[in-house]
Symmetry: C2
Subunit: 180 residues, 2 copies
């Protein structure tokens, strides 16, 4: 119990950014499960889930930036109370990610680097197809820009690696930064 | 330290609703200070502060409801991690407050009941004056409705009481509910 309390003092934010289909949610969920099993205080914020909760958010640059700033604020509140926050969001704009970073104390930006070709090949939700036909407008990577991080704390290249290996690499790198 | 951990397991949401000028922020800040001094894990969410952070929120019914749902979601995340959340929002619509309530586990609705006349007399931010001249549209109590809670967990009548007495009453009633 004492040990768990110690952990609860260690809030930080793991922010996964990357193209749709890059593997952000898969890595984030894997990380969340492992942290939970370790008894850490952890919360998972996910682009899809939050958009399901607040369906009226649009996909213009302004709407996206506003959304990311809100998530940054939520993350900072949880972090302040010792929660590890795992956030998986396309978050395509550098400036918005920087704003989220500035709200938080310890912000670990994870660039989930997967080529557009590979993301489109995976197309886990069939969204690339719809973006290509124009059925979905403002689709990051196709009709909307993605600004990759210039100096992310961590870069995970998912191509040619299994999910397990990518997850192991991610945890290893977080541990180096957070000295767990 | 052990005792503090015990407290950290006890998240709940104290949601203060009432007209502008009713005394919500004053009571909320007082409560927050007392909880902080007791070493409790506590967060304060305030309508004015959040609107300052996200200035593009409007004052239409839709915008207000959306805002309250978001705050409810934030509160529920914090509560889940053992944080006591004190939220002070006009939150004029019953349905939106109900949505916030449903997101949370333990939701204590506090109706800060002050007559419109008294709120207008106090007018701490000079907003009623502007609302009367029409400079501020959509002003709750003047040009926008306020739906008082039908069955709030707690009602605090501020007229004829000092701030200290109202705060004492509030804490007494919360303690009864939360068995602290």
């Amino acid at each position: 119990m004492k040990d768990q309390f110690k952990n609860s003092e260690r809030g930080y934010v793991v922010w996964l950014t990357g193209l749709p289909g890059a593997g952000k949610s898969t890595l984030a969920k894997g990380l969340y499960d492992i942290y939970q099993r370790r008894g850490l205080k952890v919360e998972y914020l996910d682009g899809d889930n939050l958009r399901a909760l607040f369906p009226q958010i649009g996909f213009t640059k302004e709407a996206r930036d506003e959304h990311i700033r809100r998530v940054g604020f939520m993350a900072s509140l949880l972090e302040r109370h010792g929660v590890i926050v795992i956030a998986a969001f396309v978050s395509p704009y550098r400036q918005a990610r920087l704003q989220a970073r500035r709200m938080c104390r310890k912000f670990i930006e994870v660039y989930v680097e997967t080529s557009l070709e590979e993301c489109e090949r995976r197309d886990p939700k069939g969204l690339f197809k719809k973006a290509r036909t124009g059925e979905i407008p403002h689709f990051t990577g196709i009709s909307d820009p993605y600004e990759p991080p210039q100096k992310p704390e961590i870069t995970i290249r998912t191509e040619g690696s299994s999910i397990e290996d990518s997850l192991r690499e991610l945890i290893k790198q977080i541990n180096t930064i957070c000295d767990l």
